[in-house]
Amino acid sequence: MSILSKALKKSLWVYHVGTSGCNNCDIEILNCLTPRFDVERFGIKLVGSPRHADVLLVSGPVATHCKERLEQIYQEVAKPCLVACIGVCACSMGIFKDAYSVSGPPDKVIRAIDPNAKIVYIFGCPPRPEAIIMGVVKSMSVINGSASGGTGAHNEQ
């Protein structure tokens, strides 16, 4: 598990923002906590307030109602932080691309407030818990500079 030892110089605290998704991704995120995947053994902890978070897990295409809320949460998160878009809807709106009451994927909403936001995309419908954990950990290691960027899965065991 060399990438984990490099990436995790400290515990990762994550805050989950569900913006009107179908809840599949939200449940897979919660599954990460449960005994089979057990993220807490890596020091990854779900926190109850955005102010304590290092990583923001955003799921769902942002319904118009939820846009303000997402913007507000992003303002509250302590910078520097990483925004992880979980699931196809969060990455690109998915099948809701043509829906009238959806305000655009989270990255569009967040880049409108902060053009330099660090955003990582974890695809899947829903992405498996292993994919979510790997995506978050890999991206933290890229940001910490301890691994090269890109999607090269051959870099780690």
Binding site: S20, N24, E28, N31, P35, I95, P126
Partner: protein, 403 residues
Amino acid sequence: MSTIIPIGPFHPLQDEPANFLLTVEGETVVDIEANMGYIHKGHELLGQSKTYDQVVIQTERICGICSVTHTVCFCHAVENLLGIQIPKRAAYIRTLLGELERLHSHLLWVGLAGHFLGYNTVFMWAWKYREPVLDVFEALTGNRQNASIMKVGGVRRDIDEKHFPKVMEVINTVRGQTEMLLGAVVDDPVLHSRTKNVGVLNYEQAKNWCVVGPTARASGVDTDVRRDEPYAAYDELDWKVIVLKDGDVFAKAAVRLLELLESIKIIEQCIKQFPKGPILADVRSIPVGEGIGRYEAPRGEDIHYVRSNGTNMPERWKVRAPSYVNIPSFHASCIGQTISDVTITLASCDPCYSCTERMAVAVDARSKKVLYTGDDLVRMGQEKTRRIAKELGRPADLHLTLE
């Protein structure tokens, strides 16, 4: 003096905009009002510009936990319009996947109910027991959720019977685990005190609010689409509908746990008598007409209405998920409850998150200052359990043992 409290999230770890406003006098809830719309994405309007096959894929994403439910229900509506029967093997595949979905959905609910009551062991264990069921889904269909296997007229892909021994092994384990949970729950005095006579929805109220599913069956209303309008393979299988009378949170929990055991019976029979044959009826075009499809989701009756104008896109498609009728019944079941009992009352009808929405903070009606957040309300419920456990001299968490 009335205070208005918008109440906190169901999801244990999120907090989002309000959708329930509770008016409270002292500690008792006297009124409840719903403000929804935070998850509204416009499925029905979107569906009008998609072909029927595309709508089937879209229906999976209405709700993550009910993905088999909505796809099969939409297929039922169009099959009702066409007046066709699906092949036997497709019917058995739909039954098998539907009951597996019921298993994992009820186990999810058991975990959440445990969390709201303060039994975090129950939360962790129930969600751990769910995982093998999701593995079975993956072995049969290729994905843990969102099987993408349904089509109007049957199913698109066959399932491989070589996985059936694994399915039997998993459901036998789940049966043992459910019986263990039932045993732990049925006699625990702390649980009795937290759930009996709490959140009562009596028979008359259940009929007036037109509730469905376990919420209705726990109040004595005998309704189950699998028996009333048998679809798929249900008329060839032997199982019973669980109906209890008390209408409180305990009855709703008991109905779900007993239904888990019935689902396991159904899956076993399905596997033993799985027929061979074609999996898809020939459907070329959808003529002008209308159809209504119903399905018994884990939460109750799901109903879809489709009207066709002869083109390859529906003219109108209406979805009504079961939580849509169960949640308004809070107007009856939450009134008279104390604040610390509200989260478990709201959770007891198992609202599907996408069919319902998030909640938020409590503000005082006059000063508009924040009184309680959603987390506070969840915490108050958990603290009440610990208090009662201490008074009765019992441990603060349920002790679960696996043989």
